[in-house]
């Protein structure tokens, strides 16, 4: 048994260097050359200022912005504390929260939701950083956003449609709307003069 001790120690070091240093180094080098934007986190800038990552959701509470899903990451969309609620299906608190959120959404939508509301609107995502909402969720918020921006509902609706991504390659995943990119477009298409940084065209 002891005859295998020396190879055990040396093999640990050799493989550690190969797979723990050389391999990630090579991947990083290739990433720098071929996909530098993605490797650095798909950061998004407005007027030269980085405002976030296209892949990471951020909190929005003002009426003129589309709101993301509820988040359990830290105090909400904390990108150093990704997490879901991990509440189970028979959890009383979760059931209550769903009900409150439904009422909240009805209020913030400001025209009363008559039917049921989309399942992503009142549930927290797995990462707490979900950058997307469902198209139905976004459409329900159009009236509020249009009113707050003094814009035409139909024009805002068209903006949502333009930002609705279908399933990838036609059948992978679900249709979705990226909240940050939609809100940046809303700022530039229907600027809130004086309130946010105007991005005039």
């Amino acid at each position: 048994m002891l005859k295998q001790l020396k190879p055990a120690l040396l093999m640990t070091l050799v493989l550690c260097v190969l797979t723990g240093i050389i391999y990630p180094g090579v991947v990083t080098g290739l990433a720098r050359v071929f996909f530098p934007r993605q490797a650095d986190g798909s950061l998004v800038s407005v007027n030269g200022r980085v405002v976030g990552s296209a892949l990471i959701g951020q909190p929005f509470t003002r009426p003129e912005y589309f709101h993301p899903r509820p988040s359990a990451a830290g105090a909400g969309y904390d990108a150093t504390a990704s997490s879901g609620t991990n509440k189970g299906p028979t959890d009383a608190l979760l059931a209550d929260t769903v009900l409150t959120r439904r009422v909240d959404s009805t209020v913030t939508v400001e025209r009363g939701v008559k039917g049921k509301i989309p399942s992503d609107m009142v549930t927290a995502s797995a990462s707490g950083l979900d950058p997307d909402i469902s198209p139905a969720n976004a459409q329900l918020q159009v009236a509020r956003v249009a009113k707050a921006r003094g814009a035409d509902s139909a024009a805002v609706r068209a903006l949502v449609d333009a930002h609705t991504k279908g399933r990838q390659f036609g059948f992978f995943g679900e249709a979705r709307v990226n909240v940050l990119l939609l809100n940046i477009a809303a700022d530039s298409g229907f600027p809130m003069s004086m309130i946010t940084v105007p991005a005039k065209r």
Partner: protein, 574 residues
């Protein structure tokens, strides 16, 4: 359930089936030594480590080498985690990992479990992630493959001339890493980065959001670790939210690549078995058993999640999927994946001993949460972990042959080798070791104050959290009903021990079985020989797997997810 959901699942199955034979043939050439294009690097490694690559090791020596390598790498990781504050590549100045978590993490990554009681973005430096956790992702996967290959050699070697010898652990380990794991990971890393997975060594990026708030974006060398985490069925995420985190799994396409990567090697190894024992039909029959068990799991999970939570439906949530609404139970799921991809991922990751998650299993409906628990309790034999799945399933194959032999009253044979007392003792040691670890640890935590304190949910779901944890640790899966607070002395030590039991108390009997079989002469097949290929064998194998699992775990499952399902239907909340 939607047509589109099933279409994605069907596409997954088609790609898996298409890849199995080519990759299996490649594995045959890797492990018979005929593939030599990386020979110079291989030689360098053997020379540096002082290994004689031509030595054919007896099973005891092979086992000793495997154990010593595992202990050495585990100790190295414990040391690095404890000292990470003094080591480079720590731009966030993260402190040393506490002793209990350093123990559990090093045990967990050495055993291919990758249970995370820590949150990656707030506790692990880039150096620890890269040189230790990613290294273990390769090493533990390579060890699993080596053990499976050794067991198959034991079965395949003819005429007793092998005298219990199973090959060379060091060459198997090296070749699995060089020819299989590293190239596959390189390709997958680049594909994942193209989709948006990050790969850098920068400090965390602070941005001012549109509404003027501060948001700090965690960074790191994610892609290089993400790819081997899937390919090696390791499952330990770079971030706390694992593959649900958009920087680990940004798009539906990256999700597909991740989930197929989990099954590629386990599936190909089954084909490898058929080739190596010169009975391809046997390989496919075992594959079919795994595939049918997998399909059953996907069906139940997808159905249950698509139905959604009746409690939420009663509160005005639209659980019916449409082109604009994902529907179903979206608590703990990401919009880009929706219900079908989350269900598929959950079943694949627990069939294989991967444990990566793209949705929070803790928030699944009870029957959808039941499937991952059962998958792990069956011993991760539905394709299973790289290597671990095959040697686990071979234990059940031997058991099946033995039971079939008893039924017809003949000495059972497996591929011409008599299955006798010693072999059956090893298989039973394997089966009982796993069962004891899951049930005894769960029972202790279910009555002890420290155990009960960790729950995030009350009622039967709280019990399910504990049962899930020890099933996952013992099966070396590493996924969790993550509400359970695992970062306590109580859970860190017990889960750490359960991972070690689940790995080494099962590998040693598996290698012993290989050694015993390699000592046996082959007896020619006769009319009384039970055929190990064809539908009858496949169904019998499925039956044995399910019956052993059900007899062992049904009472525990009844107390957790099953009773929760009934109570949820009655509208009972906790």
């Amino acid at each position: 359930m939607t047509m589109n959901g099933w279409l994605q699942i069907a596409f997954f199955c088609a790609v898996l089936l298409a890849a199995t034979k080519p990759l299996g043939l490649y594995l045959v050439r890797v492990f018979d030594g005929s593939l030599r294009f990386l020979r110079p690097i291989e030689r360098m490694i053997y020379r540096a480590a002082g290994v004689n690559p031509d030595e054919d090791q007896h099973w005891t020596r092979y086992t000793a080498a495997m154990l010593l390598f595992s202990v050495a790498s585990m100790l190295l990781t414990y040391a690095v985690l404890r000292l990470q504050h003094r080591l480079p590549l720590n731009p966030q100045h993260l402190a040393a990992v506490p002793d209990r978590q350093a123990f559990e993490t090093s045990a967990s990554f050495t055993t291919n479990t990758n249970w995370q009681s820590y949150s990656g973005e707030s506790m692990m430096s880039y150096f620890s992630q890269m040189t230790q956790l990613a290294f273990h992702n390769f090493a533990s996967a390579a060890v699993g493959i080596a053990v499976a290959v050794a067991l198959v050699r034991g079965i395949a070697r003819r005429g007793g001339e092998a005298r219990g010898r199973l090959g060379n652990f060091w060459t198997d380990l090296t070749r699995a890493t060089l020819y299989v794991l590293v190239p596959m990971s390189l390709v997958l890393s680049l594909a994942m980065i193209q989709q948006g997975v990050i790969q850098n060594f920068k400090p965390y990026v602070e941005v001012t959001t549109l509404e003027g708030a501060k948001q700090v974006l965690a960074m790191g060398p994610v892609a290089s670790q993400e790819s081997i985490k899937q390919i090696g069925t390791n499952g330990g995420g770079f971030f706390n939210a694992n593959a649900a985190h958009p920087f680990e799994n940004p798009t539906p396409w990256s999700n597909f690549l991740s989930v197929i990567a989990i099954f590629l090697i386990p599936s190909a190894l089954v084909y490898y078995l058929g080739r190596a024992v010169k009975n391809v039909a046997h390989g496919w029959s075992v594959w079919a058993a795994m595939f049918l068990l997998f399909l059953g799991g996907v069906g139940v999970t997808y159905w249950s999640e698509a139905r959604g939570n009746p409690t939420h439906a009663a509160r005005g949530v639209d659980v019916v999927a449409s082109a604009t609404n994902p529907g179903g139970n979206m608590e703990g799921k990401e919009v880009r994946f929706g219900v079908a991809n989350s269900a598929l991922y959950a079943v694949v990751t627990t069939d294989a001993s991967c444990g990566a998650v793209n949705a929070m299993h803790d928030s699944f409906t009870p029957l959808a949460g039941l499937v991952p628990i059962v998958n792990m309790q069956l011993g991760e034999v539905i394709f299973g972990g790289v290597g671990a799945g095959l040697y686990g399933m071979l234990i059940f194959v031997v058991l099946t042959v033995f039971i079939a032999g008893l039924m017809v009253g003949r000495t059972p044979e497996y591929l011409g080798k008599k299955i006798q007392a010693r072999e059956v003792q090893m298989t039973m040691l394997y089966v009982l070791g796993a069962a004891a670890s899951v049930l005894v640890f769960t029972a202790i935590s279910s009555i002890a104050t420290s155990g009960l304190a960790g729950r995030n949910n009350m009622g039967p779901h709280g019990f399910s959290e504990i049962l899930y944890a020890f099933s996952s640790a013992t099966a070396n899966n590493g996924s969790a009903f993550a509400g359970l607070t695992g970062s306590t002395y109580w859970y860190n030590t017990q889960l750490g021990i359960a991972t070690l039991v689940g790995r080494f108390a099962l590998i040693v009997p598996a290698l012993a079985l290989g050694g015993f079989l390699a000592e046996k002469r082959v007896v020619p097949a006769s009319v009384g020989t039970f055929p190990v290929s064809g539908p009858l064998f496949t169904l019998l194998l499925i039956g044995v797997v399910l019956i052993v699992g059900a007899l062992t775990f049904f009472p525990a499952l009844a107390l957790g997810p099953i009773v929760e399902h009934l109570l949820m239907g009655a509208g009972r909340l906790f």
